[in-house]
Assembly symmetry: C2
Homo-oligomer: 144 residues x 2
DNA sequence: GTAGAATAGTAAGCATACATATTATACGTA
DNA sequence: TACGTATAATATGTATGCTTACTATTCTAC
């Protein structure tokens, strides 16, 4: 099978292209797409431990730790030691970050709209359902 | 919008999960998923310059250069200076790599089969067509 | 023929992404 | 109460992935 026909190549390439476009748009806010994902998760969940952030974004704790560290350096999140579990830090957004997220939200939608230009509504529905199914399939096997 | 509902998150996460699974399977061959993609491309095209490899996999020349270097160190590809264009190298597979690719091909199919377990044939068709359309949409805007 | 633009490959810097290992802390059980 | 197992965070090493910049070479237009 041609590499260009493989599911891995198609998913990886489309993901990289969206990330590239998002990174370019996010540059003016001095954050990256991965950092944006962490901010978005905390916007919904308010307070999480680093382990929960990693789990929430299906990333590894070491990587998420360093993404969180950079966000902390940029004063976009705060992390404080959990008094109930002294191993853990509680992570939340700063007011600056909350303000910023409002501005970025629309821009992110525009990137996805561009990616999905000309799509049938029904195809969009199948696409999203399919990708979620792939994630579920690969999570399932992991837990065996 | 929830981060988990965003197209970027869905594509990125599914791509990373497939890559993770592929990397685990490829470990016994001592190569990575990105290296495998280069080998697969050269298996089809026989001889390419590094710039063509980068273009063929929609990557940047610096990154592809270092992936190719590592494959050369592993004796899986050869690169020779192009006598017609002394800027360029011609890259091709070694016999060892060609033998290896046969073994890996089936394993790669198994990973995709696992990802697509339980899918309707029609949904698979919509999924592939949709992702190709996303790639085309994002390529188009790049070339404006 | 020459100058300017473009290309091929690499260097350097920064940001993930992943795996493995270590330290400190928490939890459950005998 | 002590011990073994599990967890949270970080350290380290390796491999991308991307951007910018540089050098050598090629190509095109005048």
């Amino acid at each position: 099978m041609e590499i260009h026909d493989s599911l891995g190549y198609l998913l990886n390439t489309s993901a990289r292209m969206i990330k590239r476009k998002m990174d370019a748009c996010l540059e003016k806010y001095t954050i990256t797409t991965s950092q944006w994902a962490v901010l978005k998760l905390l916007d919904t969940k308010e307070v999480l431990t680093q382990a929960q952030v990693a789990e929430g974004l299906r990333g590894d704790r070491a990587t998420m730790g360093s993404v969180i560290q950079r966000l902390q350096e940029k004063k976009l999140i705060d992390k404080v030691l959990d008094t109930k579990d002294r191993r853990a830090y509680l992570v939340c957004l700063t007011p600056v970050a909350k303000e910023m997220i409002k501005d970025i939200e629309k821009m992110a939608q525009d990137v996805f709209a561009e990616a999905l230009k000309g799509f049938e509504e029904s195809d969009i529905e199948v696409l999203y359902r399919s990708i979620r199914r792939i994630i579920a399939n690969l999570s399932e096997e992991e837990n065996v």
